[in-house]
Amino acid sequence: MGPNQAAIISVKGLSVDYITGPVEKLHALRNVNLEIAAGESAAIVGESGCGKTTLAYSLLKLGPKNSVLSGDIVIDGISIGAAKGEQLRGVRGKTAAMIFQDPGESLNPVFTVFQQIKEAVNAHMSPVPDDGAMRLLARGMLKDAGLDDAGRVLNAYPHQLSGGQQQRVMMAIALSCAPKILIADEPTTALDVTVQAQIIKLLLSLKKEHNLTLALITHDLNVAVMLCKRVVVMYAGEIVEDGMISGIAQAAHPYTHALFDIIPDMRSGRREFRAIPGSVPDLRYPPAGCGFEPRCPRAREKCKRIHPEMEAGARCFFPYETRRIE
């Protein structure tokens, strides 16, 4: 993000703890700093437990009741921590919309698609359009989302639609109030590979058309790189790398490097599997030094004792040399 671009999402010093027992706390996010400019797309990648989902949900204050937040989150000028009631509702859905992994679970099974679009529009638009105008509006949205038989889909219930159609409906609902930001939490993970490709294409075109700021949460590096130039890599509750990464050549942090390395390569003849030995640290007792140290091929004595800060986009004392594309 260039120094001149205004950040539409600004996260400073965000730490989130989950209370898991009378004295026990899980430090899900540890001092996260992230700025995303308007119109930019950033993919937040990592494996389970890295904190990416916690980060996404915290942006819209959707965390579970046993979570404790500290730090600042500012979205389009509004401080999320302080926002309540009307103001918070305004951000959710109007400024920033969110789509989720399993569309089948996020769509209300007892309402038709039309009713759900209507609900979303009514919540954020005033004056509220009448039914006729609403139908027209809804049809247009569904067509934009790539649903050709918009008429049938409008009157259908979610369970009557395929996974891909449901995800398109979710996207249509999300975009119904012309949000500036789209937060997508693993939008393609639950889908078949052919449908996934279609949804990725759709996301790209919608992003361009509506000039959206996209925050994409995913564990699939290939998908991340297809959708976003900027990749933010998370590990053990922290951001460990943040930059324009499109392949292993740009991976400075050893974890990022390893993630790209272990993806089975479709094109090569290589037949053995590379793995990252070890497992993620228990975030109830975060390590004093670098979280990745026990599994890192480049780790040295220093890494165990001292906690690395972000330097030139990577939280590492001994990063790889990279070929960066700015």
Partner: protein, 259 residues
Amino acid sequence: MVCITGLKKSFIAQSPSHGRIKAVMAVDGVSFEIPGGRIAALVGESGSGKTTIARCICGLETPDSGEILYNGAPLVFDTKDKRRMVQYIFQDTFSSLNPRMKTGEILGEPLIFHFNLRGGALEEEKILLLGSVGLSGAVLDKYPHELSGGQRQRVVIARALSMRPGLLLADEPVSSLDVSVQAQVLSLLKELNEARGLSILFITHDLRVVKSLAHDVIVLKEGKIVEKGKVEDVFLRPGQDYTKLLLSCVPGAAPGPGA
């Protein structure tokens, strides 16, 4: 080693759009072979019938028609020894282990039932099994919810291996695992195939894994086989449009638009 001919299986389902009850042809005349000691990948999207085929092979479902031959003889699980021959690994690591049983008991059950092991011999065998999947004896005392996803999947594999099967059916065994852990489990499967000559039918929708793991691939669409052959052949020179479509949709198959 395993020869499947003309397999058909249908289910009664309530059509969600019309509320009418109708028969869904999950598997519609499928024939293929798994030569001994090889890994075959069964690839398809949801609704392709791949899980149903696997469940028919291992006896969890009864096919409507068709023949399944194991080493030339029809596959019927009427004796303990025959039951051991084909084992299954499930996708969901959590629900494939009884939440109320400790790992030690989970592994012990097949060992006691099939081989009548007791006492010291039983405990020794459990440790050996755990070792062969890369786990230490420490997990014996733990309940499934106390283990990580990767550990649970290995316990599932150990349980299957305890019966010394000739064919292992693995239904999306790594889909619910983290990427870094997936590789560990896949390596294990590969090693089991190479070291013991264990035949594996590997069901997946992720073509990236097929290339590195399988020898042969069978592409399924809506209950029918679209294409099958050696992995190198099919991936390099896909004959059918559907195969080409699948290959082109794999994330990372082609350089991304990365807008």
